[in-house]
Structure formats: structure tokens, C-alpha cells
Symmetry: C2
DNA sequence: CAAATAGTGTCTGTCAGACAATATGCC
DNA sequence: GGCATATTGTCTGACAGACACTATTTG
């Protein structure tokens, strides 16, 4: 049976209600560590459990719009945030109350502030991505997919610049890669490689005001370039275990 | 407002109904050309227009399950078909009748048969991917995303073997790449490269019964190997225009 | 035999990674 | 001064793409 026949013979309003939500995997870097935004549920089911921020789509609201709204409600920020669709989840029993299909979104932003305290959830906070509490629903799976997507996208898109500020040094950019990938990178090789990718970064002509905290020369400042894809890509160190 | 508070204060059944459908971008290779499965709509809106096969999810049915069912209803095939989630679309006006959120799936299979004639739609047929009719709804966009995903996945996964038969020659595999990418590849270099990727293909020890139709030696036969990712990847010839 | 195809060998340029070297600025 | 960091240079091995070559089979 296909869509046209189905529509002809069925009134979907007669079906059990299907709810559509968006859930947001919001990532930021704070203090050199990758953090994820979580809210603490105030209601059953999973009351008290941490969960991804999200909620029902509203009439007349497009999906990315709903994701941006959910994120803005928790962080107060809507600008300078990169947001993209991740995947959808619709297992029949993923929410015990009713059939809920969730569209997940991935958001990246530089140094986001603490979540707005008095918004609505019991609590909202940034959690270190490597020390996560137990999550409600299937949010652990969604979050895992979001982290993996973020790691992948650093390879072939200039996404890392979305984690850095307006102007940044090559070392700061390297810190983003090291944080998200969780591996140390060779400073010299990284430096040369970044500058060899056309359109990744462009020089501002400026340098930092002073050297590093523990010494070193002033570093040149760059801003994001106009490349949408990195060519050649910055490949992660080989992950043999993922190949088979 | 987040999910918990929303649920506390709102009854989603009071909202205008939201319908959830799956739409399938099914790809196969027939006669050396990439083809897409389309059904012709019998009902308004877009009556007579071609569209992607798809339909409403059913109670108790998971999303991939629904996609596999829709595909099987049109092709009669469910085995040897690779299927994966593509993206979701939920613009408020994408279906003029009501709010419809569609989860799209991508399916690949070797030489699928003609669609089942008397199934249900006004008509169902394979269309060449380079000669598509005007499509209903936002299906042109969905289909475009599906084709792009397929091209990408050939680069870093052994997906091409899903388009080939159980046993295949390197030349047949090359034809898959050339068809999906739409570019000619160098036979000698391709041959050497395929064999250099660990786990991509494994030899069966057999050869074809005879040489090619227009001459040439018998080719060795291979089957798909156990690699899930290609390392190193088979990169498409550089696409400068896509970088910026 | 001519043409087409399978499969291999060689060469060159690019690039990643290891390592070294130099310069600058904080303590 | 001693140390950490920024930036550049050198070398090596892997690999992609161009090209050439041999062997095999069809018509």
C-alpha cells in the first residue's frame, strides 16, 4: 500500500496520536573539555533523570525552527550557533506514554554560557561529554550519534571554527580538534596542514596581545574562511577497530 | 519550554493531527544506468504526478520496518537490500492536506525486478536518475539528497558491492562506481586500488566462464569482504565547485 | 589477425607524519 | 636564563593518477 491509496482509504486522525518532537544535542567547549547540554526532567516518566533538551513541534513551525527554539529557550543564544539535522528515532516503545517520533538536531557553538536558570526544566546544565549521567528514553543513543557525527564533520568541514571565537589562533583551533577527537595532535604538522587547506582560515593580519600564559611568541589571528568543505580533509588518526 | 513541562501542560491530542510517513529513495542499476523507483499518484493532490514510494507508519511499527515494508510492497523484494535512514522533512506546508513529517530512507539493491504491476498505485516504475519527471511534494529535494548520499557512501563504505551480484568482477564493480558517480574511471588504477583496500573484496578463486562480449581474458570473480569502512577511501575526482 | 579487456609495472606529484630548527615571550 | 610556544623546514613512506605494457579471449 502506498501513500496515495493509504490516504484514500484511511483517515489518519482515526489512528492513535503520533507526537513529533525535536531533541537537540548541543555541544560546546568549556575549559578545554567537550560539554553537552542536558536538562533534568521534572515529570514522570524518568522524573529526575537527565535528558536532551527538546519538545513538541508547534503548528506552523518547521523542524530546524523548532530545534533552534528549544536551544534558545535553554541557552538564551540563537546567534553564532551552527545547527543541523542528525537523525530520527521512532521505535514504538521509546516513550512509554504514547507514540513519539523524535527528530534530533546537532548544535555547535563557541563557549556557550550557563543555561538559563529559571527557564522551565527542573534543572539545566552543561555536562562533560566523557562523564555523562544515565539519560532518559533513548537519549544516550541519540547523544552518541551526535558525538560521532561531530567528530566526523571536523574531518571534512570547517566546523571546528564554529567552536572557536570570531578570531582565533591556530593553536586554539588545534585545541578544538584535540578536545573533540580526544587525541593529541602534532603542533607543527597541524599548523602547516591548516594553512594548506584553501579557504579554511584567513589571516586577519593581527596577532594576540601577548604570548601564551607560559611563554611563547604572539600568535597570528585568523578568522573562518569561505570553504564549505575541507580539501584535502583533516583525517583522524587511523581507527583500525572501526574498519571491520 | 522543554519536553517535561510541555507534556505537563499540554495534551498533544488537542493539537492538529501530525502524520508521520516514510518515503523511500530506492536505487538500483539497470542496463548500466542508475535508476530510482517512483510511483504515480492516483489521488489529489498531485494526482498523476510521480512520487517516491512511501506511506504512513503503522501502530507498533518501527521506522526502518515501515520503510522496508513500503519497499517490499512495490518491489516484492526484501532480501539483499541495504536500507538506511536519510533525513527528515517537516516544513509546515509540504503537504497541502495536513501537517506531515516524512522520514526518508535510502535503499540499494542489485538489479531489482520491475515493480509489481497490480499492487496499488496508479503505476510504479524505475526511472533513470538522470531523466526524472517532475515530482510531487518536496520529493525532488529528498531524491537529490538520496543521490548525493549514495555518491558519498561509495567513497568510504563497501556499498558498491550491494549494487553488484553475489559474485562480481572488478570491472563490474568499476561499472557501479562509474554509473553512480557519472564519471569514467581508469581501469588499471581502479583495479589496483580495489585490491589494495583490506577487506573490500575477497577472491572466490573462480573466473568468468568466458571473456568479455567483445574479447578479453576471463576475469577473476570476487565476493564482498568483511570491511565496513574502506581504508583508504576511494575518493571521487576532485569537485572544485562543491568546496566553496 | 585486430580489437577489446584483465591485470601488472613504473613514474611523478601530493600529502601525512616524524623530527628538527629557529624565533619569541613569560616566569 | 630557562622553558613553553609559534612557526617553518626537512625527510620519508603511502598513495593517487598518468601512462605503458603484457597476456588472453572474441569475432
Amino acid at each position: 500500500m502506498n501513500e496515495s491509496e493509504f490516504l484514500a482509504g484511511y483517515d489518519p486522525r482515526a489512528y492513535p496520536a503520533v507526537a513529533v518532537t525535536v531533541d537537540v544535542v548541543a555541544l560546546t567547549i568549556r575549559g578545554g573539555e567537550l560539554h553537552v547540554l542536558l536538562v533534568q526532567r521534572g515529570e514522570q516518566p524518568y522524573a529526575g533523570r537527565w535528558a536532551l533538551p527538546g519538545g513538541f513541534i508547534r503548528p506552523g513551525e518547521d523542524l530546524p525552527e523548532a530545534a533552534a527554539r528549544e536551544l534558545a529557550e535553554e541557552t538564551g543564544l540563537a546567534e553564532r550557533v551552527h545547527i543541523e539535522q542528525l537523525a530520527s528515532y521512532g521505535a514504538p516503545e521509546r516513550d512509554p506514554r504514547m507514540r513519539v517520533v523524535s527528530i534530533s538536531y546537532l548544535a555547535f557553538a563557541p563557549g556557550l554560557p550557563d543555561p538559563r536558570a529559571g527557564s522551565d526544566a527542573a534543572d539545566a546544565a552543561w555536562h562533560r561529554a566523557d562523564r555523562l549521567p544515565e539519560l532518559a528514553f533513548d537519549h544516550e543513543r541519540i547523544l552518541g550519534n551526535g558525538l560521532e557525527r561531530a567528530r566526523d564533520k571536523l574531518e571534512y568541514t570547517p566546523l571546528a571554527t564554529a567552536f572557536a571565537g570570531e578570531r582565533f589562533t591556530i593553536s586554539e583551533l588545534r585545541a578544538v580538534y584535540e578536545t573533540v577527537w580526544g587525541v593529541p595532535l602534532h603542533a607543527g604538522n597541524f599548523h602547516r596542514k591548516i594553512l594548506s587547506v584553501p579557504g579554511f582560515v584567513e589571516s586577519t593580519g593581527e596577532t594576540t596581545e601577548s604570548g601564551g600564559a607560559r611563554g611563547g611568541p604572539r600568535a597570528k589571528l585568523y578568522r573562518a574562511g569561505d570553504a564549505r568543505l575541507l580539501h584535502p580533509a583533516l583525517l583522524r588518526p587511523a581507527r583500525e577497530e572501526e574498519v571491520r
